[in-house]
């Protein structure tokens, strides 16, 4: 029975008093039915998108690529990878887009969950248990790191989180290699398939379409859960406080709320998402390396995906993850007829896309789409409510 009063969220925010009221659990009854429909719609729309996603990415783009003679199609495994990063950045966005905290150390949670899941798989090779164990470890790690880092704000917070992440990276690469297998990478991960190994993860889901694997279906289900949970959070009074914190921390404090506690909670929640993603990553790749798991560039990638997709919108960052992974893994291998291989330029391409998006559409890809949609419908595009683009939908 958490409140579904997001409809008047933007009105409520400037008035701290309303926020307190929300925390008390007051939830409106009259407009509930209409809003409920809209709330669930995000999940339903996501489900629909997930059904066609691999087909569009692999088969359709592949067919287009064959026609134009440039390999732009995806490959089996890419859709799952995009969703895994999508799950992570949905959580990351709760921290960056709503609460306004820029963490540069989320690879620590991603990586620690990945390694815990990998180690756990040596004992019990169950994908679902691996996700649970990974998530628990990431959560437990997030508490002390958050506890220390959140005491500082802005750049100091970012640097503190970065430091923790890098400490883990160097530990995993050198001294901790007895556990992580260091630079040789942790392989030999056995995820035996779902339902006690009855359904292997790399099996085809539907006989004809080999773009759909059981792993993809598994990832898609986790993704839907993530969207649903994220949606519940941002539409709850708790989520409203996150958003209020992003807009004006002092006011929230004056209202009498424990700012530290809410920030810590936002930090931990985002780490839970990163943990789920990390464990899923290991199940998907059956391999993990310190550079992928824990290096600061991974943390930076989360930030880029989130900003690219659109901070402050629930599913926007997923679009960011899609564009990022597509450029990194498909565009990087494209050879153009005259220019030749653009592999070495993929980071440049990504940078150009990033600059363009941030410059022209400060609210990210999602913001651009929703503005475009409104314009097509003949309505005024929504104005961002706050300067940092922390506006939802």
């Amino acid at each position: 029975m958490s409140g579904d009063r997001s409809g008047d969220a933007t009105d409520a925010i400037p008035d701290g008093g309303t926020v307190t009221e929300e925390t008390a659990g007051g939830s409106g009854g009259s407009a509930l039915a209409g809003l409920r429909e809209r709330d669930d719609f995000v999940v339903v729309a996501m489900a629909a998108a997930l059904v066609v996603f691999p087909f569009l990415l692999i088969d359709i783009l592949g067919a287009v690529g064959d026609v134009i003679g440039i390999s732009i199609g995806g490959y089996t495994g890419l859709p799952s990878l995009v969703l895994i990063y999508g799950i992570i950045v949905i959580g990351f966005n709760l921290l960056l887009g709503y609460t306004g905290l820029l963490s540069f150390g989320h690879a620590a949670f991603f990586g620690s969950a990945a390694y815990s899941a990998a180690l756990f798989s040596q004992v019990v090779p169950s994908p679902i248990l691996m996700v649970i164990v990974g998530t628990i470890v990431a959560t437990l790690l997030a508490w002390p790191i958050g506890f220390v880092s959140i005491r500082r704000s802005g750049v100091y917070f970012a640097v503190l989180t970065l430091t923790f992440g890098q400490a883990l990276y160097f530990w995993a690469l050198g001294p901790g290699s007895w556990l992580t297998n260091g630079d040789n990478g942790f392989s030999g991960i056995e995820a035996h398939g779902l339902f006690l190994g009855a359904i292997p993860l790399d099996a085809q889901l539907i006989p004809v379409f080999d773009s759909y694997t059981v792993m993809y279906a598994f990832t898609a289900v986790v993704m839907l859960i993530a969207v649903w949970v994220g949606n519940r959070i941002i539409n709850s009074p708790y989520g409203l406080i996150f958003e209020a914190l992003g807009e004006n921390e002092e006011r929230v404090e004056f209202v009498g709320l424990n700012v530290f506690r809410y920030k810590l909670m936002a930090f931990i929640i985002s780490a839970v998402f990163a943990g789920v993603g990390g464990a899923m990553f290991v199940i998907h790749e059956q391999y993990i390396h310190p550079t992928t798991a824990l290096y600061w560039i991974q943390s930076g990638d989360f930030v880029i995906m989130t900003v690219l997709g659109g901070t402050g919108s629930l599913v926007g960052p997923v679009l960011g993850a899609l564009v990022f992974e597509y450029v990194a893994n498909v565009i990087s291998g494209v050879s153009l007829p005259m220019i030749g291989s653009i592999g070495s330029l993929w980071r440049f391409v990504l940078g150009a896309v990033f600059v363009f998006i941030v410059w022209v559409f400060p609210r990210g890809i999602y913001g651009a789409f929703s503005d475009l949609g409104s314009r097509l419908l003949g309505e005024d595009p929504e104005e961002p409510a706050v300067a940092d683009g922390g506006e939802r939908e």
Partner: protein, 448 residues
């Protein structure tokens, strides 16, 4: 606000379902053309190869610190592809290679960027395997990448031909059936370097090591300790780890006891060495002791060119070698690129031709048969005299070059190092149940 979103989303759904319908039609159309393939062996990995092209995947660092090295590897690969299709270079001299493609199929290639990052490399290899149907993947300029990709290739039952990877583990504890290494390893560096240094600097010396704290650095320093102690009767004072990617080594270097240390070993590679070596020279350590870098590469020799005078190290191969194979490779490479190839290009070229030759001998692309052809294969004409691709760990048994940095007056664009000696493969290497090979279990061919 709520109403707007719903309307918009409904449009989206309509559009999406329209797209899905169109997509479904295309999919069905594509299905009708699906083919089986007529071959004597069962399908495995990307076998059988359909059509009149066979795809090789060249997976090299194209961005990041090692992109120069990757670019040179790629030149080697493209030269190999060109020669396999049109003749020329070693293709004219090697048995079985026709200069008319491989088994009559034209060699095509796809390229990818490893970014010297194991997971990026795996994604790239995955794309080549799943989307582009590559029958063989090759490349990489670090052991982390090689081990990551060869693990994937073993799972996918696609051949992997290592490029630059020097860690013992590649053909040791992490070895796989589907991967072969032409390059030598840290263990062999120790074996090649120790006798030369013992003769040059004397016996009963004290040495001090710094090593990059990751798998390669760890195995490298262990091998150096083992052979310096055994061969020269030297005594290790201390071996200190430094984090990978350190840019300032002054605090580590200032801890080196100048009075006691006779030899300082910098177990750093590439850019790490390009930082640590000049800093050691600048700190004046070369006045009190001798400095050794175990593994030279062009990147590092260029970046530290002012500091390498007289510094010993090993290399895979060098264009200054005088044998026919080397000279013909250098010549064809120069024709195209106007400078001498680095050893990365030689390994790339060799590994591609080796795979092609094995396919010709096996008379099929069926991976288990190709692997059996490569295992225990004796060959020469790859620039290093007689070599054997050993069956028990897939490590080439070959000579190793001991190099010394050239003085600045001597240096040219291509010539940064001098060849001191070639240590014969009879004096280095280890049995299948010894050294790194003892830890190697290759895994399945896939047709058991």
């Amino acid at each position: 606000m709520a109403r707007d979103t719903t309307a918009l989303s409904r449009r989206d759904v309509l559009k999406a379902s329209g797209a899905a319908g169109a997509a479904g039609l295309t999919g069905l159309a594509g299905c009708a053309g699906g083919g089986g393939g007529d071959s004597e062996y069962p399908a495995i990995g990307n076998y059988p190869v359909e059509g009149d092209e066979v795809v090789f995947g060249f997976n090299v660092p194209q961005s990041g610190s090692y992109s120069q090295e990757g670019a040179d590897e790629l030149r080697g690969y493209n030269l190999a592809k060109d020669h396999l299709n049109n003749g020329g270079g070693w293709v004219d001299n090697w048995d079985g290679l026709s200069g008319d493609g491989v088994l009559g199929k034209t060699v095509a290639s796809v390229e990818g960027d490893t970014a010297t990052d194991p997971d990026t490399a795996r994604q790239s290899a995955q794309r080549m395997i799943n989307r582009d149907n590559a029958i063989m993947i090759t490349g990489g300029s670090s052991s982390g990448v090689a081990i990551a990709v060869q693990g994937l290739c073993q799972e996918e039952k696609v051949q992997f031909q290592c490029c630059i990877t020097h860690s013992n583990d590649t053909t040791g504890s992490e070895c796989v059936r589907y991967s072969f290494r032409e390059m030598f390893n840290a263990y062999m560096t120790g074996q090649a370097l120790a006798p030369v240094l013992a003769e040059e600097y004397g016996e009963d010396l004290n040495f001090y090591q710094l090593y990059a704290d990751y798998s390669w650095g760890q195995t490298q320093q262990a091998s150096m300790e083992q052979f310096f102690t055994e061969v020269g009767g030297w005594n290790q004072l201390e071996s200190v780890p430094t984090p990978l990617g350190t840019s300032d080594y002054s605090s580590y270097l200032s801890d080196v006891p100048r009075d006691e240390t006779d030899v300082l070993v910098l177990n750093h590679y590439g850019l790490d060495a390009a930082n640590s070596l000049p800093q050691a020279i600048e700190a004046g350590l070369d006045e009190d002791m001798e400095i050794v870098v175990p593994l030279y590469n062009r990147l590092m020799a260029e970046a530290a060119s002012g500091s390498i005078d007289g510094i010993f190290g090993t290399a895979d191969w060098n264009w200054q070698l005088e044998d026919d194979a080397t000279q013909s490779f250098v010549e064809v490479y120069r024709e195209e690129h106007d400078r001498a190839p680095s050893y990365g290009a030689r390994i790339a070229y060799t590994q591609t031709l080796q795979y092609a030759a094995a396919v010709e001998r096996a008379e099929t692309f069926y991976p288990p048969e190709v692997i059996r052809e490569l295992e225990g294969h004796d060959y020469s004409g790859a620039g290093l005299g007689d070599e054997t691709m050993r069956g028990c760990d897939h490590q080439a048994q070959r000579d190793v070059l001991v190099m010394q940095g050239a003085s600045e007056e001597e240096q040219t664009e291509d010539k940064l190092l001098n060849i001191v000696s070639t240590t014969s493969r009879d004096d280095i290497g280890y049995a299948c149940d010894a050294g790194p090979a003892a830890e190697c279990e290759l895994g399945e061919y896939g047709d058991e």
